[in-house]
């Protein structure tokens, strides 16, 4: 195995330096792959370095200055990762942005970081940037646009616009002239120069630019790669938004540190096929991806023949009993081992292959709570799925679960080098090598988030379990409130329980300062639509299905079961849901109801649906509402609906006996 750490401890201090090291030690190994025209194209570290250098020279040629910001907007493609490294080589700062952001959102961020250069994936992104530049109140700071995909770009005014390949060609041509300047800029990079700036989605207020240094990224990459024993032989699939810190750590930080291969899917829609073809060994996905896949498996099993269904059921029971213990290295009986081996041959192996998880060594999920059944399902198949807890300001990793210490209700032990403390209010604080430098041009926010000693408030309330030392998160600290009678109100705790049902995609629980809790629920069109098909229930639209009496009845059952389980927790039994409604539209980031990372924005929702909230609390049994929606192309429309409101039974103080008696 190639020795990664330098013997004298003088590790490379920037991503471009790591790139040079990888060319030395791993030159002919694949660094990037991308599926194009139906075939996986690959670039070795040496080839990638050549492409990156050409691009950096090209950017220099266009006049990129040290300290400039370069926005990168596009899907996961090698060229976009190269653009970020090339930017760093020039001494400038890459700022990846969410590609699905609408022009108004982009306007703020582009203006805030004052990007002089923008790298756009395709015509759609170029159009957005031009639209931003044309807005009357937007700062016109963008001087050069570089686009990756040439399609549809011929008609544009190319005075300040170039194709990425052309910029590279120019760069190659001017290598002689600009080479020394570029080398000098690369040499000037050190551990404290800025590696990347990422905008936090922010459930409240304007996005903030989180400045992360080379130290933050490389130290974090080092520590966590050691933690999970990642090597240059690992493979990842880069499919999560490039603007998200996780993708930057996995596909940039850890990839350049360990030298493993970053695989880019052909398009967002082919991600599942590409996942199967690559079979990554190291994989991250938010819970909803795992949920979606499990729902698909279950739906398709329903269509299988009787024998196959029996086989599946039988061996999944074996897996449930034996799988997790095997994964954790706990003792397992000989008979069970044989049964599991058989199951692996007949069910688990083929299933894992079909899902694309055949080779996973380390899998992580984070971002939201994952349902215990879902978590256990994957673990029982022998997939080493773990949880981590993190945020942009920490360069992702705050806590993570070690092999052998994995549970669905905790988020793990502090990552190497990270310290944790819990404040009196229950809020979790951390500090470590990944702790961000500052919020860009926002000293007040920096000061209110990070104190003089480097402790950062996570905004989450939680506690550390004494026996295991693992962190457990209860809820967002600011969302934890009090009911009118003073008992604790933790909406997310209840919402997560609701969301564990495949039928429920999103739930918003209300009740802060009120007498009782209520909920607004989004159905999962996939699961509920499939159920409707099976039961011959005709529907013409999402809205009609959502309002169907039988759907209401099913959701009511779910809510009732959740109430029963919430009632068992003496601290939170006041959070049982008394009344609920099923929303007529899906909560959508385009309408501002969720963040781009799909976290519910409570303030927006309670304001936008004020009429629904009022109806939930005034005792009426239906409510008429009109809601403005934004279509994908930015146009607006209005949805009108009359929503039914259902009452749900709640359970009393002594639920334990009742449950036991059933």
């Amino acid at each position: 195995m190639a020795q990664l750490r330098a013997p004298d401890g003088a590790d490379p201090q920037s991503i471009p330096a790591l790139l040079a090291r990888n060319v030395d030690r791993l030159g002919p190994r694949p660094a990037y792959r991308e599926k194009e025209f139906g075939i996986w194209q690959s670039w070795t570290w040496a080839q990638a370095a050549d492409e990156i250098r050409a691009l950096a020279l090209g950017m220099l040629n266009l006049g990129l200055r040290p300290g400039d910001h370069v926005a990168v907007i596009g899907r996961n493609r090698p060229a976009h990762y190269w653009a970020m490294i090339a930017t760093q080589m020039c001494g400038a700062v890459p700022v990846p942005l969410y590609q699905d952001a609408v022009a108004e959102e982009m306007a703020y961020v582009l203006g805030h970081c004052g990007a002089r250069f923008v790298v756009c994936g395709d015509q759609e992104q170029v159009d957005k940037v031009l639209e931003v530049q044309a807005m009357s109140d937007a700062p016109r700071n963008v001087e050069q646009i570089i686009y990756t995909d040439k399609r549809g770009m011929r008609k544009y005014d190319h005075a300040r616009m170039n194709a990425l390949a052309d910029v590279q060609a120019e760069g190659r041509a001017s290598g002689q002239r600009l080479g020394p300047e570029l080398d000098a800029r690369i040499a000037a990079l050190d551990y404290d120069s800025t590696c990347v700036m990422l905008y936090t989605s922010g459930t409240t207020g304007k996005p903030k630019g989180v400045v992360l240094s080379n130290r933050n990224i490389i130290e974090t990459a080092k520590n966590t790669s050691d933690f999970d024993k990642l090597t240059y032989r690992d493979e990842v699939l880069a499919y999560l938004p490039m603007a998200w810190v996780g993708d930057f750590i996995f596909s940039m930080g850890q990839a350049t540190w360990t030298g493993f291969t970053v695989n880019c899917p052909e398009s967002a829609a082919t991600m599942m096929t590409d996942l199967r073809e690559i079979g990554p060994t190291y994989f991250f996905a938010p819970p909803r991806v795992f949920e979606g896949q499990l729902t698909n498996v279950m739906i398709r099993m329903e269509d299988a023949g009787r024998f196959k269904r029996w086989l599946f059921k039988h061996y999944m029971a074996v897996a449930n009993r034996v799988g997790p213990s095997l994964l954790d290295g706990k003792p397992v009986g000989f008979g069970d081992r044989i049964a599991y081996g058989l199951g692996n041959l007949l069910i688990y192996g083929p299933l894992k292959d079909a899902l694309g998880y055949g080779r996973i060594r380390v899998g992580y999920t984070a971002g939201e709570a994952i349902g215990p059944e879902i978590f256990d399902f994957y673990r029982s198949l022998g997939i080493n799925l773990k949880q981590l807890y993190g945020q942009t300001e920490a360069s992702v990793f705050i806590t993570q679960q070690p092999d052998g210490g994995v549970r669905s209700d905790t988020v793990g032990v502090p990552s190497p080098g990270v310290e944790l403390k819990i404040a009196d209010t229950g809020e979790v604080f951390y500090r470590g090598p990944g702790t961000f430098v500052e919020y860009y041009n926002n000293p007040e926010s920096t000061a209110s988030t990070k104190d003089a000693e480097g402790w950062v408030a996570t905004g989450d309330a939680g506690f550390i379990e004494e026996e295991t030392g693992q962190l457990r998160i209860i809820d967002r600290a600011k969302d934890v409130g009090k009911m009118a009678d003073g008992t604790m109100f933790a909406p997310k705790y209840v919402e997560n329980k609701l969301k564990f049902y495949p039928n429920i995609l999103e739930a918003v629980v209300l009740g802060n300062g009120r007498d009782f809790c209520t909920a607004m629920i989004n159905i999962d069109l996939n699961a509920v639509g499939n159920w409707a098909e099976r039961n011959n229930i005709a529907y013409a639209s999402y809205q009609e299905l959502a309002g169907h009496p039988q759907v209401y009845a099913t959701i009511k059952e779910h809510v009732e079961t959740v109430n029963r389980s919430v009632a068992q927790d003496p601290m939170l039994s006041g959070c049982q849901i008394h009344r609920f409604l099923v929303l007529h539209k899906e909560l959508d980031p385009d309408d501002g109801e969720m963040t781009r990372t799909r976290k519910v924005r409570r303030a927006v929702i309670s304001e936008k649906f004020a009429d629904l909230v009022a109806a939930l609390y005034d005792g009426s049994d239906s409510v008429y509402t009109e809601t403005e929606v934004t279509y994908e192309d930015g146009r607006k429309g209005v949805i009108k609906a009359t929503l039914k409101i259902e009452d749900v039974p709640v359970f009393g103080e002594a639920p334990m006996e009742k449950v036991a008696a059933e």
Partner: protein, 272 residues
Amino acid sequence: MLDETEGYTTADGRQIGPVVMDLRNITLRFGGVEAIKNISFDIRQGEIRAIIGPNGAGKSSMLNVISGFYVPQEGEVWFKGYRRGPMKPYEVARLGIARTFQNIALFDGMSVLDNIMTGRLNKVKSGFFSQALWWGRAEAEEIANREQVEKIIDFLEIQNIRKTPVGRLPYGLKKRVELARALAAEPQLLLLDEPMAGMNVEEKEDMSRFILDVNDEFGTTIALIEHDMGVVMDLSDRVVVMDYGRKIGDGTPSEVRSNQEVIDAYLGVSHD
């Protein structure tokens, strides 16, 4: 009127070339029924030319005359400077004309990829045995054809359904696959028979964008029939309006829109 050898520049700055297809005094009869009555118009290099009209106006018949499927009883069809006689379908394809159909005509049991590959058939030179035995130039040819097809798949953004049997696809996507197959033949003149029929707004927008992109990227001349007036007026450079087999208007969308006869045809003035 323009001279047929000179071009013009469209409102959005595209350069339109000389006439490629010239239809002169076409009359088409089915028994005693005159489907097309003495119609003349031309299609120029690089333009998007629409044929519109109420139901039964003779639009599809007109398209079939252009494609060579119907041979008119009277009149002349000139293509690229030569007068065209009766032709077999494969001869039409070799001339560089491809089309899509009003009612989708794909092979339901075959994958999207295979369906599009059929569009490359007239580019295949290797013989039956060579292909059956995968010997000689068959392999190189297949690879070259596949590459071309993959470029079209990428262009129309249907990578995710590459291996899906066409029968399982929703309607809007089938239409797109049909366009892909027509493009696989690398046509100079592309005929689209109601490319947006039965689509929802989003699918229509996608299809419009693809039609414009095809025209822009490959420089393909496009003749299309469409009912959706908004789409036609936005897409096309020039429009022919037909009613009861006659040509009642011809010109840019704005010219056609202000033509009294056209307005009457669409508002339903009684014919005597």
